[in-house]
C-alpha cells in the first residue's frame, strides 16, 4: 500500500519559489496514470524525433521505453523491489524502482548488500535538455537520498548502486559523488556505486 515517506521541497525554476513536495513508497494508480498519460506520450514523441537511442540521449529522452506500469506491478508482489514516487503540484515528478537483492562490486564493499537503483526518472518537463524551461529542480537528488535512506533502513549502511544512462554519467561521477565502477559490458552501461562514507556525505551535503 502507498505510504508517505516524507515531506520535501522542490525549487520551481520558473517562479524561483520552493514548493512543498512529498515522497511516497509504493506507486499507486495515480502515479502510473500520470506516467501513462503525462510522461509516456511526450517521451515517446521526443524519442521518435531521433534515429537512434544514442541520439535520443542528447535530448534526455532515452528512457521512453521504460515500462513503469509492469515494473510497479512486479514490485507489489515481490520483496525484491521497492518503488518510490515524488509528487508536487498534484503531479508525479519522479519515479524510482530499487532492487534490494544486489551486492556491491567496487573495492571495499564487494559482496556486501546494497540497494540497486534499477530505474530512476524525473518527469520530462523537469529535464533541462528535454524542455527549454524545466519546471522543478532536485527531483533526482531527492530520489537518490530516498534510496540511501532505504539502504540504511535495510541494514545496508547507505550503500547504493546503479547503471547510468550516458547523459547522466558525469552527474553521478562528479556531482553525486559515486565511485565509477567501470563499464559493464553485460548491460552496455557505466556502473556506479556509493559507499557508506559517500552516502553519508551525499545526505549531509543536501
Amino acid at each position: 500500500m502507498k505510504e508517505l515517506v516524507g515531506a520535501v521541497v522542490l525549487l520551481n525554476r520558473m517562479t524561483g519559489v520552493f514548493e512543498p513536495a512529498e515522497v511516497f513508497r509504493e506507486l499507486d494508480h495515480k502515479n502510473l496514470d500520470d506516467f501513462e498519460r503525462l510522461w509516456k506520450p511526450v517521451l515517446k514523441s521526443r524519442r521518435d524525433e531521433f534515429p537512434s537511442w544514442a541520439a535520443a540521449a542528447d535530448a534526455n529522452a532515452q528512457d521512453s521505453h521504460w515500462e513503469w506500469v509492469e515494473k510497479a506491478k512486479d514490485a507489489t508482489r515481490s520483496l525484491q523491489y521497492e518503488t518510490f514516487a515524488v509528487e508536487c503540484g498534484g503531479e508525479t515528478q519522479g519515479l524510482m524502482l530499487v532492487d534490494v537483492t544486489k551486492f556491491g562490486r567496487v573495492d571495499g564493499q564487494q559482496g556486501r548488500e546494497l540497494a540497486y537503483i534499477e530505474l530512476l526518472a524525473t518527469a520530462p518537463w523537469n529535464r533541462p535538455k528535454f524542455v527549454s524551461t524545466p519546471r522543478y529542480k532536485g527531483v533526482g537528488r531527492i530520489l537518490l537520498g530516498t534510496a540511501i535512506s532505504l539502504s540504511v533502513e535495510l541494514g545496508f549502511k547507505g550503500r547504493i548502486g546503479l547503471h547510468s544512462l550516458p547523459q547522466s554519467e558525469s552527474w553521478y561521477r562528479t556531482e553525486a559523488g559515486f565511485t565509477d565502477g567501470g563499464y559493464d559490458s553485460a548491460k552496455t552501461m557505466q556502473y556506479f556505486e556509493m559507499t557508506e562514507a559517500q552516502a553519508a556525505a551525499c545526505i549531509s551535503d543536501h
Partner: protein, 69 residues
C-alpha cells in the same frame, strides 16, 4: 508499513550461525533474516521461471547449479 509479529525458536546451532552472519555482514539479526527472505524469494522465482542459478568458483570457473527443492 504494516508489521506483524512472530516468535521464532532457533536451535543453538542456528542462533550461533545467525549471530556470526549478522556480525560478518554488519547487519542486525532482524535485517539479516529479512534479507534472507528476499533472496530466497528471488532465487525461487528465478528457478520457477526456468532460469538457472549458479555459483562460480573464482579460480577454476567451475559452476555449480543452485537447487531449490
Amino acid at each position: 508499513m504494516d508489521r506483524r509479529q512472530m516468535t521464532l525458536m532457533l536451535s543453538d546451532k542456528e542462533m550461533n550461525l545467525l549471530d556470526q552472519l549478522a556480525e560478518r555482514r554488519g547487519m542486525s539479526k532482524t535485517a539479516l533474516l529479512r534479507q534472507a527472505l528476499r533472496l530466497y524469494q528471488s532465487v525461487t522465482e528465478r528457478i520457477d521461471n526456468g532460469e538457472k542459478v549458479f555459483v562460480e568458483h573464482p579460480a577454476t570457473k567451475d559452476k555449480t547449479e543452485l537447487m531449490v527443492l
